[in-house]
Amino acid sequence: MLKINRLIKTFAPGTVNEVRALRDVSLQIEKGSFTAVIGTNGSGKSTLLNAVAGSFVPDSGSIQLFDKNITSWSEHKRASLVGRVFQNPFAGTAAGMTIAENIALAMRRGKRWSLTMAINSKVREEISERVKTLKMGLEDRLDNPIGTLSGGQRQALTLLMATWLRPHLLLLDEHTAALDPKTAAKVAEITREIITRDKLTALMVTHSMQQAVDLPDRIIMMHRGRIVEDFRDEMKARVRVANLIEAFERVQKLDLFDHSVAEVLQQQYV
């Protein structure tokens, strides 16, 4: 379904600011699977998501989605296949437009535009029905500008918009990180409901270990531009937050393992 093959990306190569964000990353995501990507700051998880979304062209490697090599596709061309929710709740919606207008835009994503009425009564009914599933009472406020809503409400709507057309792939980039804990839990729950109901394939970057354990069926851990752990199938079933924290500690320990440690072990390890 999504096949990432030996992806390499270095930002500002050859300068003092050089960052080797992706170092030969390969990953295969099956259709219908929900994968979380976790990692330390600067580990390359958001870069991986951006590479799939087409925010930049990788230095080498390829990305295939449904057997189509999309590596050189532009970001907007990929938008017909990929839905995306950002960390910033204000990034995915147009603040001055109403809820209904925002959703009407999302309903035509990737399609040709015409001069027909964007929101007729049938569309309005459909919007109302779907918004109702968020259980936030927003179906009664479809004509309110979206800018008047809270961050959590906007993020829930963004999620709804991103999945309206059942994208081939849903990318969630720390989409609950800017929300208060209670709202974050609510949006996480909505995420799970939508992905399960619509059998979506999703890739979610998160800093919340609890979310990584609770929501997806696979967890990828990245560190310094590489995938260092892949919890899937029966391993995912037994993984707990404490195991993920241990895994973080392990990769950080590996960073401390230098020449001098090797010398100590060569003397002491018999």
């Binding site: 392990r250 320990k253 393992f257 001098s260 072990l265 018999v270």
Partner: protein, 410 residues
């Protein structure tokens, strides 16, 4: 709630004021647990200013009672007001109440005696007891192994070992699963060779004898002759593993000694195999960075305040010939030491002379071990983590009566 502690001989007298209810129960238990951890096993609660006790509070008192009972201590309540007294009597816990201070309790708080000793207390268990050491398998890094280099060892009571091996299963599989282990009195803790794997354990029960296929093993059989106890003093807050080993050698008056240590951890420094030596394709000198694939290093002092069960073999030799499988210490010149430590969730230990079997079985029968390490002395200048150290604990030890030539495994 407020707590005012007073040290009165063997008793810790704690005057508590306020309401012992659901809001304070957890804090109450944590406070008392801390005193028990510090070695105060006889707790006297002065409830004169405690004006309320709910069922949640009684549950906290039950928890404290169970904890002190597990270390043969005592928990009693004095000066309870009429409400607290009535509540305790009606709920069947009236036996905690005592009318007067115990006779053996001093009248006033004692100035804490300035302990000038080294923090150790030595008890002779059996002056004639000793251990016999053998080395049935002596793999050295990074030699290729094969089925012929595996030695199957079964462990029963009075047997102690440390080394590298795999649990008793098909020999072909065991090559893939060689990891560190330790065996104490027949019970085995084994670390599978993969990052993130939890240590496994094999308990000697009824007719079952734990067994390991070993490529490396320091194996001792016999009885312990001495019991060492150590606890912090005014000047000494922790005890290094090298220090405990030297003390064992000194007390057993032997150039070589085996010891089992059960102690609260200040910090462990160690490493563990993360890729089975059975996967080595050839004799190989593995250096940095490849070594990172084969051994993990703790990176910082770990598992503070948990309990360690250690088996170690120590030797003292002034010349530098060295010993088989005993690396030389840099911090203690002339000391040679090899020790493995299993980490268990903390449980308090009884005071006084305690039996190794009873003490260690509480851990084997309790919550699962958290980790197993080959202890390493990290004496790198500035960045070094030093040696593993312990806050308080108990160490059973015995002289090893072998001749050097008997130790060779060939």
């Amino acid at each position: 709630m407020q707590f005012i502690p007073q040290k009165r001989g063997k008793y810790m007298l704690i005057s508590a004021s306020g309401r012992l209810d659901a809001s304070w129960a957890e804090h109450f238990t944590a406070t008392f647990r801390e005193y028990i951890r510090q070695g105060w096993h006889h707790i006297l609660l002065d409830a004169g200013d405690m004006n309320y006790l709910s069922s949640a509070g009684i549950r906290a008192l039950v928890q404290v009672t169970k904890l002190v009972q597990s270390v043969n201590g005592s928990f009693q309540i004095i000066q309870a007001n009429s409400f607290v007294e009535r509540t305790l009597k009606m709920t069947g816990f009236g036996s905690w109440l005592i009318p007067d201070y115990p006779d053996d309790m001093p009248q006033a708080e004692e100035e804490s005696a300035k302990i000038e000793n080294d923090g150790f207390e030595t008890h002779l268990l059996d002056g004639s007891a000793s251990l016999k050491l053998s080395i049935p398998a002596g793999w050295l890094p990074w030699k290729k192994t094969d089925k012929n280099s595996h030695v199957k060892m079964c462990f029963s009571k009075q047997e102690f070992a440390l080394g590298i091996g795999a649990p008793d299963q098909a020999t072909t599989d065991s090559g893939l699963l060689m990891g560190e282990f330790l065996a104490v009195d027949g019970n085995v803790v084994y670390q599978p060779p993969r990052e993130g794997e939890h240590p496994d354990f094999l308990l000697a029960e009824k007719d079952y004898q734990p067994a390991m296929h070993c490529i490396q093993a320091l194996y001792c059989r016999g009885d312990m002759s001495h019991l060492l106890r150590f606890s912090p003093t005014d000047k000494k807050l922790y005890f290094g593993i090298g220090e405990v080993a030297e003390k064992a050698l000194l007390e057993t008056k032997s150039p070589m000694a085996g010891f089992v240590l059960l102690a609260e951890i200040d910090g462990l420094v160690g490493s563990a195999i993360v890729k089975s030596p059975g996967l080595l394709q050839e004799n190989h000198s593995i250096s940095f960075p490849e070594i990172k694939e084969w051994i993990s290093f703790c990176g910082e002092r770990v598992y503070s305040r948990q309990q360690a069960l250690v088996f170690g073999v120590a030797a003292r030799q002034e010349n530098k010939e060295g010993h088989v499988l005993l690396p030389a210490s840099n911090m203690y010149p002339g000391l040679y030491l090899h020790a493995h430590a299993a980490v268990f969730p903390y449980q308090p230990l009884e005071s006084g002379i305690i039996g190794m079997k009873e003490a260690t079985e509480r851990f084997f029968n309790g919550p699962s071990p958290l980790a197993l390490f080959h202890l390493v002395e990290d004496s790198r200048p500035v960045t070094g983590l030093g040696e593993s150290a312990f806050i308080r604990g108990v160490c059973w030890c015995a002289p090893i009566n072998n001749h050097q030539e008997e130790l060779l495994w060939e």
